[in-house]
């Protein structure tokens, strides 16, 4: 292992600019003549717009223009597309209502976009927006799954009876029914996976500039995937061909899924910049983010696990209602289906599984992927259910898991819910975690806590996730409307420095360092000679972007393929220069060596020869040294691992403190352990946040109660412990790096682990259930209810 190559905890090259305040986030960019957009949003969850008079706003000081949905429709603007077509169990396609960037007749959630005011300053735009007074006719609304699915519920969309977009199913229903009919015991659980808000610290921001002379558009955007935005907005919404639309995602302050989607405001400012031939910027205020960033989770599920008398899992039956919000966001339909139902086997050899999911519209902000996206929901359901079953059977929850783990020699393993796991060793991660957490010594810690008046509990869960959704062909057959490959270009410059162009966008993950380490390893150049470029459609051939822990598993592997091409070509050039056969030339530590001789050539010399091809194999090779690879994976990758959490609860107040947290992950090959650990830490904080602190709450009418950080509880430093994080390793078998992905694992494994620990702490009192977030009051109420009996 070189000091800067694969496996080294290289300090991040991107940090210098972030630490000195010299990074460039979208809102840091300003263009000459720039105007400011303010979006007038609906204060009502559901209403018909009887009239919309914007004349007073138009006449206000500093106002350049006011536009409404009617203006956009008149201009031929289309709706925001959904990226995945889901079919119901009966074969019918999902109900897919239109999603106009500015509404035309009805508002369907608080925060829906009603009009845009564009003015010389933010203040002028905001002041003028107050002069618009839409005449609303309030309509009955549905803010929760229960309300939306009730008989006779008001309809969010007239074309979606019962407020259902789809009723999807996966698995063998008959085999599952049969498994249940032969079961010794059935464990049953009702679970709510509460709605969350992603809350990347940088609010969304868009700056669009149209140049009339060249008819070129440039959009600077807080996006995880600028090429996808170019594709969706260009092709579906604004009819701008790719070669006229440049999308730049500069430094982006976190995403966690919420910056994947094509948002209305992107289309609004881009369109307005052409209407006005002026640069137009919009920056969300945090209170706007709460009513306009796609939100996460929001499931209600009924789950049943059938077991035989020895605790072997026989079958799993899951019925889930998934709140989609008022519109289908870009991947809103795929998250609660293909990213959820397919993970229901977990790490267990459950032979028969059936899961059905109803996708439900409501008068709330659209729901889409949030870190983990479907997989945390699956993991929460399964790992809560396994603990519940263990309690029913009077078994240790670890032992029940051990009895049902897929054996390490059973790979590749075909699950009953479509996926084929290529590799793993779930026994190893579980055993290592038990050892590191001193599971065996827990009872003594519980007793010690008791002496201090505290209730201590321990929780375990085993998770698996599917990363890097693939292959494109299969995804396409299942309804994906995009490919799922990634692109990497290696541009070796004449003096041997290297520019990498990647379709994976970095917004905290450290790609500029990790991907450079691949180059160091492959080409033997120093890290300082490598520049990683991402986030600009004008520079990078193409890209599907960063989400689903795919950057290394798909983007990194694409880059590795390109690096291999560079090495192959370089070897041929070197062979020519060294007057040897290519097969006899070895590449090692940055030098091409003729095997068995002392004749060698540095990589830099080869690069120079490629660009100054005086002595060059012209008949065989083109000059230059730049290679691109498009990589479409053969399968998902399957990171997996084990989490163990210990909590202490103050029975007087119900306050739960996480006091110990151990994780053992299998991410396959790790490129930069420091960065990987950081990813796990961050994921854990979000998962623990879901378990104990965070919830997005609407009142019955559809008004958002948790509309700012005053009420939406973000995890702070003193809510969390230091984590004990380590890895075990089995290599992914179907990519050349053996990598699996690490971005979401912490978020996927932690919610059930924490809640299992809370229930374990309270179990001596007879408590058997706890909802997320396990707030002090909920815990106190549970203690009170249990001790009253």
């Amino acid at each position: 292992m070189s000091e800067q190559g694969i496996g080294a905890s290289v300090r991040r090259t991107e940090d210098q600019r972030f630490l000195t305040g010299r990074a460039t986030y979208t809102d840091d960019i300003n263009r000459p003549g720039q105007k400011y957009a303010y979006i007038l949003r609906s204060p009502l969850p559901h209403a018909r717009i009887k009239s919309l008079d914007v004349s007073a706003a138009q006449a206000a000081p500093g106002v350049v223009a006011v536009f409404t949905g009617a203006d956009m429709v008149a201009d031929g603007v289309g709706g925001l597309p959904c990226g995945w077509l889901v079919h119901s169990e009966d074969g019918s396609p999902m109900v897919e209502p239109p999603h106009m960037p500015l509404v035309t007749d009805r508002v369907r959630h608080v925060g829906d976009q009603v009009a845009v005011v564009i003015a010389d300053s933010y203040f002028a735009a905001r002041d003028a927006a107050e002069l618009i007074e839409p005449d609303y006719e309030e309509l009955d609304s549905v803010a929760s799954l229960g309300a939306a699915l009730a008989d006779g519920a008001p309809l969010v969309w007239d074309e979606a009876p019962g407020n259902r977009s789809f009723h999807w199913g996966l698995g063998d229903k008959a085999a599952t029914e049969a498994a249940f009919s032969s079961a010794h015991h059935v464990a049953r659980l009702e679970l709510v996976n509460q709605r969350l808000v992603a809350n990347a610290m940088e609010p969304r921001c868009y700056l669009a500039e149209y140049e009339p002379a060249s008819q070129q558009y440039t959009l600077y955007t807080t996006s995880q995937n600028p090429h996808v935005i170019r594709l969706l907005m260009g092709a579906y919404v604004l009819a701008i061909p790719e070669h006229k639309l440049r999308v730049v995602a500069p430094d982006v302050g976190g995403g966690f899924g919420s910056k994947i989607y094509h948002y209305a405001e992107e289309a609004i400012v881009t369109w307005a910049s052409r209407k006005l031939s002026l640069p137009v910027k919009w920056t969300a205020e945090r209170t706007e983010s709460f009513v306009s960033d796609a939100q996460g989770r929001d499931h209600v599920s009924h789950a049943e696990l059938a077991l035989d008398k020895d605790g072997q899992f026989l079958g799993l039956r899951v019925s889930t209602q998934a709140n989609l919000g008022a519109y289908l966001s870009t991947f809103g339909s795929c998250v609660p289906t293909y990213l959820y139902g397919t993970l229901m086997a977990g790490v267990y050899r459950t032979p028969a599984i059936y899961v059905d999911v109803q996708g439900v519209f409501s008068n709330t902000v659209p729901v889409d992927a949030y870190r983990g996206a479907g997989r945390p929901e699956a993991s929460y359901l399964l790992e809560r259910l396994v603990d519940h079953a263990a309690r029913d059977l009077g078994m240790d929850p670890v032992e029940l898991r051990q009895r049902n783990l897929i054996p390490a020699d059973a790979f590749p393993y075909q699950t009953p819910v479509a996926l084929e796991y290529d590799n793993g060793n779930y026994q190893a991660t579980l055993a290592a975690a038990l050892e590191q957490a001193d599971y065996a010594g827990f009872e003594a810690r519980r007793e010690a806590a008791k002496a201090r008046g505290m209730l201590r509990g321990i929780g375990v869960s085993c998770y698996i996730e599917g990363c890097g959704i693939a292959p494109s062909q299969v995804a396409g057959a299942l309804g994906a409307r995009a490919g799922l490959f990634e692109v990497g270009t290696v541009r070796v410059n004449p003096t041997g420095s290297v520019t990498v162009l990647t379709g994976s966008h970095s917004h905290g993950q450290g790609h500029e360092t990790t991907l450079a380490q691949l180059v160091v390893e492959a080409l033997g150049v120093p890290l300082e000679s490598v520049e990683v470029v991402h986030g600009d459609t004008a520079q990078i051939p193409f890209g599907m972007g960063t989400y689903g822990s795919r950057s290394l598993a798909v983007g990194g592997v694409a880059l590795q393929h390109a690096l291999n091409k560079v090495v192959d070509k370089s070897r041929k050039i070197a062979a020519h220069l060294l007057e040897a056969a290519a097969d006899d030339v070895e590449f090692k530590d940055g030098n091409f060596v003729v095997a068995g001789t002392d004749r060698s050539l540095g990589f830099g010399d080869v690069a120079l020869a490629a660009y100054v091809p005086h002595n060059y194999p012209h008949e065989e090779l083109e000059p230059g040294l730049e290679e691109t690879a498009f990589y479409d994976p053969k399968n998902f990758t399957f990171p997996a691992g084990c989490h163990i959490c210990e909590v202490e609860i103050d029975p007087e107040t119900g306050v739960t403190q996480v006091v110990d947290y151990t994780v053992v992950d299998d991410f396959g090959r790790v490129i930069n352990p420091m960065i990987v650990e950081g990813q796990v830490h961050g994921g854990l904080a979000q998962g623990i946040g879901q378990a104990l602190l965070e919830r997005c709450v609407y009142d019955e009418e559809g008004q958002l109660i948790t509309g700012s950080y005053v009420d939406y509880c973000m995890p702070r430093a003193d809510d969390l412990p230091s984590f004990n994080v380590s890895t075990e390793k089995t290599l992914c078998t179907h990519n050349i790096l053996g990598v699996k992905g690490c971005g979401e694992a912490g978020t996927i494994g932690s919610p059930p682990t924490v809640i299992n620990a809370v229930i374990n702490a309270l179990s001596p009192l007879g408590v058997t259930d706890m909802a997320m977030p396990a707030t002090p009051e909920r815990v106190w109420q549970a203690i009170r209810a249990a001790t009253r009996h």
Binding site: R11, R12, D15, G253, F256, G682, R716, A717
Partner: protein
């Protein structure tokens, strides 16, 4: 309806005429192009905008530019001297105390106020001190480590 303000920002005298309703953070970002100070919320919770106001950490989103008339302001841009990272910045780099970087300037400015009060803070002290700074990326562990290491490095340098 405008006020004239005279202040020092990162050691340099600045004079400007602003609308009274201009926030200090917007003045720094838009008028002075000091875009290292960020806005992450509008209710004074997140701390992405923390600067030093007469030597004490403050949220520049909850101050008017007019209130800074006569004040000395330090932003993240004022930390690194002659291109060398401040020991606290270096500690964040060394210990991976940042991911997306958006909260980082506020974290640094907040951390430096802590070190003024406690030259060698323990983990619990650091975690408690960061009540006013939200990070969504790191889970805080490496930030806490960075601040402790940064404090020790500063003590060593006698800064």
């Amino acid at each position: 309806m405008s006020v004239e303000i005279n202040l020092k920002v990162n050691g340099e005298a600045v004079s400007a005429t602003v609308e009274p309703r201009t926030l200090l953070v917007d003045f720094l970002r838009r008028h002075l192009q000091l875009t290292g100070t960020h806005v992450g919320c509008d209710t004074s919770q997140c701390g992405a905008c923390v600067i030093h106001f007469n030597g004490a950490s403050a949220k520049s989103c909850t101050l008017l530019a007019a209130q800074a008339d006569g004040a000395e302001i330090t932003t993240v841009e004022g930390l690194a001297a002659d291109g060398n990272l401040h020991p606290m910045q270096e500690a964040f780099r060394e210990h991976h105390g940042l991911q997306c970087g958006f909260c980082t300037p506020g974290m640094l400015m907040s951390a430096l106020d802590l070190v003024q009060r406690d030259a060698d803070p323990d983990e619990a002290t650091v975690r408690h001190w960061l009540e006013g700074n939200i990070c969504r990326c790191t889970g805080y562990q490496n930030i806490v480590t960075s601040i402790q290491a940064g404090a020790r490095a500063m003590a060593k340098e006698g800064s």
